[in-house]
Symmetry: C2
Subunit: 449 residues, 2 copies
């Protein structure tokens, strides 16, 4: 089961589009999975991709569109009429439909929505658009299978057949009372093994996990992972059943979270991909580089203040990149550990304990590295005091860098700020400056200048 | 639905253990979810945690154990007899059971397996232990629901009731022939809406995605994400149905991959957590810091070679940390983009195109930053040539750092080496050295020394 987009296949599709041989295109792509067709589209130009989208059935193209990169989808949708977009939306689950509409320019949204024919679908999508996209409401779909607690299994199965038509995957059957208040759940398995005459109220499981529609997406992801859930119902403050969230949406949340942290650690404002434009890359990268520039100028200014040492102890200036790099590396290591611990919600103990641990760890690492540096510089220059100044500075700088790297993300987190911004360029730049300042101050004291 | 481990709860549990009030403990914890009890156990000491595990029923404790950190689980299992561990294993799905056994010291494994009473369960676990843990075989469970293509729906439902007992979640029903060759699938939904007399062969969906038992875990994750699958059957080379992989295992694979890349970017050998011992942290961090030390010494040696410039142009030496930091930051930015693109499998175009793009981008960023640096240093020192040397060097260094950062992960990936090791300390250290060397060479040329 491996599908690969070959150059030959792309050329074949291109030439069929050229010849406008619609029958051949349909028969070529008909058996392919929508995710595979999406891959093919990514290798075509915009006109060709639009041609294919207009040609194929919307039950297939709606899925293809959702599979594409947001940028590519946006471009193709620009080429479709409001009516054509509405047809795609009719085929999508409400959560995907709402996501697609939210990406349209505001002036088009109303227009497209008004073209949706299925009134219930339209109302559901409109409701979903009112929720914050990073909340449970923004993740949920309206499609679900629900049964009334007063029904029998037989009536339940009959009703479900109708409902299940619209639901791609039935994870759980939710049980509600006459006021649509969530009471519990049933599994398909339970239905299979129960007599058809039993009333639902006797067989449903009254304990059901749910989330509030205004809960944050990240928290929903954490709960579903922790309790190993494949779907979770979403309720309002009065426990009315509003929708459900499935694990595949959570996989996306997890991936986005991880990518965001990774990009921040690498000095990229989130949401940039290899294939974005140079302008988007510049916007994502330049602010962090500018921060680094300011830091470097700060470091240069500090060294300027110690200029009088340069004649007798030039070697001190040779080691500033080493001190700066070590301060930066240690800072990133400790902050990354904290950021990851916070993300996984598995940091135990107080801030004090955490700092104490980092302190002990830095003493071990700092001591080993300082001793190595001491012997190396001693053999190189044979100046005992200079070597001592260098290695003692390295030792102190490593300890302070570790403590800063541990403290800042914890502090930001307490303040409700994303601790991930404390990794990467932010921590390396501030540690560069601190490191070099401490270094020269210690060297000045030891060498008695 | 939010559970929180409070200090009071922990104290209550501790005091009940102290008093050995088993009835009270059982009634206190009986209604809690296993994931919540696992959280409580993490706040107890080893003896207390072991006490609880021995006290509660193994259908609950087996799930609690699987929910714990590997380190904590290992310690508790050390306190259990082979018989007690075997009882936990009986309750677990085969994939979890095999994972738990694989963590035991080798000399215990045989002993524990021999104590498992259910012969089929034992054989299944033994089979799973033969697969590589990073392969489809290492991820799959033997529990699944399968039906013969020659059965009727009625027989199918009857057989399934028996099988479903052992399967936590029924995603798909797999259809096999008399030789256990995978032929297709059925959904529970299909069974609900079909007449009980139809033969399975008439209603099953013959198109079913599957993976080979020796496929890599990462590839399985990619396929399941791409095709939005919640479960996938695993077959051998002859298409015999061997097991199935569910999406919750894939969530773990995705998280582990992301964490590994993140940790490598931060200069941590993978698999270290905030609560590991100082010794584990030293092992994870020291090698990368040592690399940084070597790099710093290299940079110092380069500067030593240009020592004659120090009297007339001390300012050049003040800016080495800036040059090194910028080279490092740019390198990390470009390599992170590539590593992420490779991980998501969405890098299009040739290496040449990619390098060209990075080159153009570096020209934009480099130019802006170089101009800023030029004016700053000109106002500060009023030496036109020095400022020119500095800013031209920064420009060139940014371009080269970007190209190195792009090339190295692509090169490593082509060679079959994990490109993620090219982010973090590796790229910053090598870029520090290159950057400073280029910087002094350019400065020397321009200033004509």
């Amino acid at each position: 089961m491996s599908f690969e987009v070959t150059k030959e296949l792309i050329e074949q599709v291109e030439s069929l589009i050229q010849q406008q041989d619609d029958t051949a295109i349909v028969s070529l792509l008909d058996d392919e999975h929508f995710a595979d067709i999406a891959e093919i589209l990514e290798d075509l130009n915009l006109d060709q991709a639009t041609y294919i989208i207009k040609l194929l059935d919307s039950d297939k193209t709606s899925d293809i569109l959702m599979e594409l990169d947001e940028d590519d989808r946006e471009k193709i949708l620009k080429n479709l009429s409001a009516k054509e977009i509405a047809e795609e939306l009719e085929e999508l689950d409400t959560d995907d439909a709402a996501d697609m509409i939210a990406e349209l320019p505001e002036e088009r949204q109303e227009n497209v929505i008004s073209q949706i024919e299925d009134e219930e679908h339209k109302a559901d999508i409109k409701e979903l658009l009112t929720y914050d996209e990073d909340s449970a409401g923004g993740l949920m779909a309206k499609e679900l299978v629900k049964v009334n607690e007063n029904w029998t299994v037989l009536k339940c199965v009959r009703e479900m057949r109708a409902q299940a038509e619209n639901v791609t995957r039935v994870h759980s059957i939710y049980v509600v009372d006459d006021n649509d208040i969530l009471k519990g759940r049933l599994s398909l398995k339970d239905l299979l093994v129960t007599s058809t005459k039993s009333p639902i109220s006797e067989i449903y499981i009254p304990k059901v996990d749910s989330v509030n529609v205004h809960d944050e997406a990240e928290d929903v992801a954490r709960i579903m992972q922790k309790y190993d859930l494949e779907a979770i119902p979403v309720v309002d403050n009065q426990q009315h059943l509003l929708g459900r969230i499935t694990i595949d949406d959570i996989v996306d949340v997890i991936k986005e979270e991880a990518e965001k942290d990774y990009q921040l650690a690498a000095g990229l404002t989130q949401d940039v991909e290899a294939d974005d434009t140079i302008w988007q890359h510049t916007k994502a990268r330049l602010p962090w580089l500018f921060l680094g520039l300011i830091g470097g100028i700060g470091a240069a200014a500090i060294m300027g203040d110690f200029e009088e040492m340069i004649n007798k102890h030039a070697i001190l200036f040779f080691f500033t990149p080493l001190i700066a790099a070590m301060a930066g590396n240690v800072g990133v290591q400790s902050s990354a550990i904290i950021v990851q611990g916070l993300a996984n919600d598995d940091l135990k103990g107080s801030i004090g304990n955490r700092l104490l641990k980092e302190f002990s760890l830095s003493i071990v690492n700092g001591f080993i590295l300082a001793v190595l540096l001491f012997f190396f510089t001693w053999f190189w220059q044979n100046e005992l005091l200079t070597s001592a100044a260098l290695s003692i500075s390295l030792f102190v700088v490593i300890i302070i860098a570790g403590i800063i790297g541990t403290f800042i993300p914890l502090f930001l987190d307490k303040r409700g700020i994303d601790p991930a911004i404390a990794t990467g360029p932010f921590i390396t730049t501030s540690n560069d400056i601190f490191g070099i300042l401490i270094y020269f101050m210690i060297a000045k004291t030891i060498l008695g200048i």
